[in-house]
Symmetry: C2
Subunit: 107 residues, 2 copies
DNA sequence: CTGACATTTTAATAATTGTTTAACAATGGA
DNA sequence: TCCATTGTTAAACAATTATTAAAATGTCAG
């Protein structure tokens, strides 16, 4: 189980419109990811601001960085999001699957 | 599908140690919920600070309020968390279930 | 009605966060 | 090597957030 502090860090990282949009773009882009510039262009955000947000997401381990020539690719790391969801839903139905409120869980 | 602004609001609400602890307590407490004072006592946080956090969670529609005599009960509202997870994982594997990185989804 | 209890509100302060601008690396093609 | 491209870092500022203490609200028992 993830530690509380890491969960808070991940939630904080996603709790901002630009970063949420970045993360969703990367979730939809799979393992290959997208170059920093492509993301900046799609979201219409300045490079410096993007770097700030990439750092926040990286620090929370929600995304991973890969250099390819002059380009820097970012890709979603699903482990932390999965861990976050597990942390939020722990003990969600007292072990009674028939009353479970969380479709994504196999209580 | 939830709107981005509501998702950000929900993530922000959970992205704080005390509120994350409140929410998890309520998730584990089911529909009955817990009285404000019980939660404050368990988490060793002053009533005024608790009220502030309850308001934030309520405003994000992550918890619901119910008055019972002099006590005010709060209970988790699972809809918003489920919506939040759906929003985060939209298009997560390009429709290819066999490569899906998110166990909780039925891609 | 009065007093005690449960919780919220308000106001003030301290800490954190997001954006901008300008300057700084690192890469690779001419 | 030189220069344009790609992206990051640093410093400054504005905006948001969390906590505290004090006062206020609402509810019920006597």
């Amino acid at each position: 189980m993830m530690k509380s502090t890491q969960v808070v860090k991940a939630l904080s990282a996603l709790a901002q419109p630009t970063r949420l949009a970045i993360y969703r773009l990367l979730v939809a882009s799979g393992a290959q990811g997208l170059a920093a510039g492509q993301i900046a262009e799609k979201l219409k955000v300045s490079p410096a601001t993007m770097s700030f947000h990439f750092k926040t997401l990286s620090h929370a381990e929600l995304i991973e960085r890969r250099q390819d020539g002059r380009f820097i690719y970012y890709a979603a790391n699903f482990k932390v999001m999965n861990g976050m969801v597990d942390y939020l839903t722990e003990n969600c139905c007292g072990g009674h699957a028939e009353i479970c409120n969380i479709p994504s869980k196999k209580c």
